[in-house]
Symmetry: C2
Subunit: 386 residues, 2 copies
């Protein structure tokens, strides 16, 4: 495996952190705390600490499994912990090669407290730099646009997703094979692996009409929940073909529709289509989001989540598609995110009403030089239960 970050972006990472006077960036990935940036910067799948040596412009990986790292990782240096008395000794050695007598070590905001504590207590003369607005923003920003390699990998996830959409539609329309929420989840998760996916991108959400007004509905609550009840139902699933994950929501209209259902379905569909169209004309992502919010709010509804988000090595990458904040306390930290070539984002407007049900339509969109390219083919599926 190779690292996911491009050389150009890696240079940008070194340059930017150098500007902020950092000597090292310290990342760690373990069973207790996954940080996909280790994989992003080195290609190593999991369980390792990583020092980005900013002055010497090199990545130094300290993996749990040294043999595996030698095959999978593209770090400039791989430290064999067996050569040292644990991580601390290895870290002291790495820091001692730095030109700074008091290395400034940047950390991401979610790093486990004990990893930081280990360094401040055991590695003499280090200064911890906690600055999410620089460090976390930079990493998120780098990952928000995808390299050609990443786009190729995403296409594999998209292809399997589209095959699944087709098969789910046939199953639902013919009311065959599956009955309960759990049946549908099992079908989708096994079938994607038969089609070549390495893993599910995330645990599928399946809601029959009785529960679809909730936003996040695991198919757990009631194994007997039937999918074929009148109202609005949905499945939200992700395919991880290799390393990148898709994210698709397929809504089912179990008709006949009453007027309230009709309004919700049409409003969401309009928000979906119009916000995708707006990508071409807008300069900034919040402008795209506002197209959807305006359509939904004009009908008297609220959307209780963002219009969408980046997808990639995780199902929740940057950027977020949100409105411009109104509170001054939020505005202070907010800068508009320009739409950029290489972003892959979900567009997933939804309305959730306790007495009608929930309806969300979600597709994945790649931003190209020529505008938005809708990668997935989710459409509302209608069946008449009368």
């Amino acid at each position: 495996m190779a690292r996911f970050i491009s050389q150009e972006k890696l240079d940008k990472l070194y340059d930017s952190l150098h500007t902020h006077n950092l000597d090292f960036l310290f990342l760690t990935d373990s069973e207790a705390h996954r940080d996909v940036n280790v994989k992003y910067l080195t290609g190593h799948p999991e369980d390792a600490s990583l020092f980005v040596d900013i002055k010497n412009r090199q990545t130094i990986l300290i993996p749990w499994d040294y043999q595996l790292a030698r095959i999978t990782s593209e770090a400039d240096r791989i430290v064999n912990m067996a050569d040292y008395q644990g991580l601390i000794a290895a870290t002291i050695e790495v820091f001692s090669e730095s030109s700074s007598s008091t290395p400034k070590v940047g950390i991401p905001r979610g790093i486990p407290y004990d990893s930081v504590h280990l360094i401040t207590e055991k590695v003499p003369n280090t200064e911890i730099i906690y600055n999410p607005l620089i460090i976390d923003s930079l990493l998120a920003d780098l990952r928000s646009t995808k390299s050609e390699h990443e786009i190729t990998l995403m296409q594999k996830s998209v292809d399997i997703s589209n095959q699944l959409v087709k098969e789910i539609e046939e199953i639902i329309i013919t009311q065959s094979k599956i009955k309960t929420e759990m049946d549908l989840a099992i079908f989708v998760e096994s079938r994607m692996r038969e089609l070549g996916a390495f893993a599910v991108g995330f645990e599928s959400l399946v809601a029959s009409s009785a529960r679809s007004w909730q936003i996040h509905t695991y198919p757990r609550a009631d194994p007997k929940q039937s999918m074929y009840q009148k109202g609005l139902a949905l499945i939200d699933f992700g395919v991880q073909a290799v390393d990148l994950t898709s994210d698709v929501t397929l809504p089912f209209i179990m008709g006949p529709m009453n007027d309230k259902m009709k309004t919700i379905v049409e409003t969401v569909k309009s928000a979906h289509d119009n916000s995708i169209d707006a990508i071409s004309e807008s300069q900034y992502l919040h402008e795209v989001a506002e197209v959807a919010y305006n359509i939904i709010e004009k009908q008297g509804y609220q959307m209780p989540h963002s219009l969408g988000h980046g997808i990639g090595l995780t199902v929740h990458d940057a950027p977020l598609l949100r409105k411009e904040p109104t509170h001054e306390s939020m505005l202070k930290y907010w800068t508009p995110t320009p739409i950029e070539e290489g972003m892959i984002v979900t567009i997933e407007p939804g309305i959730y009403e306790k007495d009608v049900g929930g309806f969300r339509l979600e597709n994945d969109v790649l931003i190209t030089r020529n505008g938005p390219k809708v990668l997935t083919n989710a459409e509302p599926i209608f069946i008449d239960l009368n």
Copy 2:
């Protein structure tokens, strides 16, 4: 849902933290950082902060989804964040009710750095107490023995596991239904949910004989990997029927066996059986572990992992079944763990040799008043490929 901790243990938690002069214990669970102790102490499934108010002996939950928490949680107090300007304001309010002017707030070692930073920067007059030997050890210790409620839930996972063991055996012996590692993973993971499991306890590990010498083998590397090659193969899976997970490894001997294979199989089987028998006679868990290590090392092999571990709300609970450490630096922090009624541990000796393959047999054992009760029924499965 109800909390998992018993009242007796909750009292012990308050008493013990009070002895150490803490005012609060601060835990947090989010998508970025799962801490199952929130669920253990309140029953709330996920996404919440929790303050254990030690002086007033109450649990104060600040959930992301207030409505859900009112149904699922047994916290003494549930704070509706909508009533406050965010978590900080709610925290300041909670702390202001404390009798201490400078509340001492204990944290677990793996808590995200930003959660701690938020309190030290924004909540005036607090003191953060980082002391894994007291805080983390206490929580692990409480969770290492299971209540009757937990044992009942584990039995559900065990029942499904045992049904799966039977079905896998039949599939492998008749060489029907499944061919590749991935086929077997898909079968097990879908079938457990058909049998009533809410989720997989962890991602299944499946290794055909070519790869079984590796310890952790996801069924990803090669979708074409056939299970029916001569040598040693295995599947390691967990069933989460409700909230507690089982953990079983079923080894396959794809015969005929050569002498090296025979030695490995017999040594592991002997280590497995004798260490379970030793549970009755031993006082401490490291004595049990040493029975297995001695048998394996006597044959000239090494076991590169512990003999077993606790299972429960996570697949890796306390205690660990390890030898007494030999390094003085480790011995300093080590105290022998007595065998206690209510522990549920895996017994999973294994030997991994690159030119022969890997062989691990794993069963789950409940410690009862009358000695060990083996809950699962994994046995080596032999087929002759000649």
